[in-house]
Amino acid sequence: MTQSTDGSEKIPFWRDDRVWRIIIQLIVLGVVLLIGSILLGNMFRNLAQLGRQFDFGFLRNQAGFNIGETIVPYQTNDRYWWALVVGFLNTLRLILVGFVLATVIGVLAGIASFSDNWLLRKLNVFYVEIVRNVPLLLQLFFWIFVVFYSLAPQRNLSDPPTPLLGRGFINKAGMFVPWPANTTGDWLALLGVVLGAIAAFFIWRWRIKLMETAGASGKPQQWMLIGLALIGLLVLLFGMKWETPTLGENNSITGGLRISLEYAAVLAGLSFYTGAFIAEIVRAGIQSVSKGQWEAARALGLHTGLAMQLVVLPQALRVIIPSLNSQYQNLAKNSTLALAIGYPDFFSTFQTTQNQTGRAVEMILILMAVYLIVNLVITTLMNLLNRSVQLKER
């Protein structure tokens, strides 16, 4: 057996793993670049044939289309970029309210699957299995055409509207519900309620801390919380000037808040759909807490509610929150289906703009940027929330 004298016997390069690693990467990069350049080359050639240049200047042109409902003022002769902003605000209104509703529905349904009421458990399974196995778009059609349009059977806006629970009305134009008038007193009352909520949050944390460290009963703090809630409710009910919708001449409705049927349908569809998925996540999260934790909590003398609140839920949240993140993202992405039933969300203004201007490339870049930013914001917030419930380890 001969040993190389200088100890630097070279491996031939075709047997060297490191060389191959670099070569493979170069090949893959080359192929991706080649395909990309062919596609982009085709695109620029096709665009040149159509006589278009890559340019965002068209956003300053007059939009010239109408948007059914807006939160901020918008006129037909406003610019394209403003139309897109208006659509985006409509999307935000949809997904923010949708997050709250879906979470409430999902958490309630998730907890209901642990109820010792047989009927409630079965109904819950029924809800989850139906909603998860039927396409969302079909559910949206069902909400608008079967549920909401049958609540408002009027043909014309001049027909008398259907009363809604004695306090509001519903017709083709939407649901009219009582809403605070825009006065200074209302805003002050609202401010008071918000301050009360913040105070309640701190009292609640104080209570938990006392219960955990000093083993206190938490009764006085509980009374304080109940008192705050009562005061808040009274302020909301009587401290604010609620405006009920009234029926005027020609069955025109004034006052109150108008919720369009399209908005209500998309909101209901998205919330119940996402709620079913959240319910499964909540159920899995609670199930992931071992039974011993329940038994230990009961052995310490905590009754079911407190055991849930102090022992099980904090641990379940660690499992629940990461999956909630993707459900919220799905809700935001699914909100684009609003287009199909005529709620003017961002995607719908986007599509109208694209159809009118023919600027496919520029518009798709805007679209991608908007939805990627929305998803990024949701993920960042959920990660912050996640960090606050994670196990603190050294």
């Binding site: 096709n46 196995n133 396409p135 969302l136 069902f142 349009y149 699914n334 199909a340 490339v361 990627l372």
Partner: protein, 404 residues
């Protein structure tokens, strides 16, 4: 030191815990809160059911469904060529029956009581469903074909152990045969793909998209796990970009941008463009699912196969991927279910799949306003398809479960 406790006072024997009254007391009225809840739920449920039944038997006009059955199932497929669809259905039924029989080869009895009940219900539906008598016979025949071929498969499976391999080849051959039957050519009258619609289009688009996205998804998952930085970055960028976008924007991209990317003289059919969009979309989700499976395989598996002298491709193909894919079957079926549901979005880019054809039917002045009937019907179709898939995946998972 031992302490002796006095024996607990003998408790009286428990009251009989059987019978409907005891059951109701235990499950429905075990506290005042549950009692109120039960009464409330019964009232709610009862009024809903009564209203629904009253509507279904007096107000609803169900003839919108039998009158448009061909539209729901095959769209504007030429009526003279329906036999091709029936042949295809029979073929698939035979294959599915065989597969079922072979998967159940270890079962002591193939036709257990729930299976028999299921077959009976299927046959009953075939007989009472309001279609022309010929179609009733044909549906009944399909149910029979499933049962017969399941029995044959069960018999063969228990005698010839290696038969399962041939079955996967048969499934692979079924796809070109299906395309030949549906599209025509080679002696059959060609049918334009634009005339497809309804459930045919829904199933075709979702099956083709999942088949096409599968290799892409596996490659992307492997790329994301790769130790080569360039490949890892490229795969990660693609996956995250696609997963951050709504499907509608991907379909929009496919229908508007794809024609820009190909040379100007080639025109792609809208169905093909939709399949491209769905494939690009599903591949990214599949990649993440398969990545989860890859991560669940312990490193020792790689190390052991390297120690045996297997190269990287062989390690991946023979050791890692089979295990990873088996782990991710439930998630992959979940993706398949959501893909089937997502095909409804094709109506927005102008294709007449199941939901799109329903809109077209509802636009017919003869059936205007029959939303509830139509949507309940296709909702039921989707529900049965999706529920069957998730049930099947649970069974497959059990039968593939080789851990002890």
């Amino acid at each position: 030191m031992t302490t002796s406790y006095p024996p607990a006072a003998a408790s009286p024997p428990p009251i009989a815990q059987v019978g409907p009254v005891a059951w109701m007391r235990k499950n429905l009225f075990n506290s005042w809160f549950n009692g109120i809840l039960t009464i409330l739920l019964v009232w709610l449920l009862g009024s809903t059911v009564i209203n629904f039944v009253r509507w279904a038997f007096s107000l609803a006009q169900w003839q919108v469904i039998p009158a448009n059955l061909p539209l729901y199932f095959v769209g504007r497929f030429p009526a003279s060529q329906y036999w091709r669809v029936w042949v295809l259905v029979a073929l698939l039924a035979a294959l599915a029956g065989q597969t079922w029989g072979i998967l159940a080869k270890t079962a002591p009895r193939l036709f257990s009581r729930p299976v028999l009940i299921g077959l009976a219900i299927a046959a009953l539906i075939a007989v009472i469903f309001p279609t022309p008598p010929l179609y009733r016979l044909l549906i009944l025949g399909v149910v029979l074909v499933v049962a017969a071929s399941a029995w044959v498969g069960w018999q063969i499976g228990s005698k010839i152990p290696g038969f399962g391999k041939w079955l996967s080849i048969a499934w692979a051959i079924a796809l070109p045969i299906a395309l030949w039957l549906l599209l025509g050519g080679f002696g059959l009258r060609p049918v334009n793909i634009n005339d497809w619609g309804g459930m045919l289009l829904t199933v075709f688009v979702s099956v083709l998209s999942i088949l096409l996205s599968f290799p892409l998804g596996v490659l992307l998952a492997l790329g994301r796990q790769s130790t080569l930085p360039v490949i890892r970055w490229l795969s990660t960028a693609y996956i995250e970009l696609v997963r951050g976008l709504p499907l509608l924007s991907i379909l929009f991209f496919a229908s508007v941008m794809v024609p820009l990317f190909i040379p100007g003289n080639i025109r792609l059919n809208l169905v093909i463009r939709a399949i491209i969009g769905l494939t690009l979309f599903t591949a990214a989700y599949l990649a993440e699912t398969i990545r989860g499976g890859l991560q669940s395989i312990p490193r020792g598996q790689t190390e052991a196969s390297r120690a045996l002298g297997l190269s990287t491709p062989l390690t991946l193909g023979l050791i890692i991927l089979p295990q990873a894919l088996k782990v991710s079957i439930p998630a992959i079926v979940g993706l398949f279910i959501s893909l089937l549901q997502d095909t409804t979005l094709l109506l927005i880019i102008g294709l007449f799949e199941l939901l799109g054809i329903s809109r077209a039917i509802l636009a017919n002045p003869q059936f205007i306003g029959r939303y509830a009937e139509v949507y309940l019907f296709i909702g039921l179709i989707f529900w049965v398809l999706c529920y069957a898939m998730s049930w099947g995946s649970r069974r497959l998972e059990q039968s593939l479960n080789t851990t002890h």
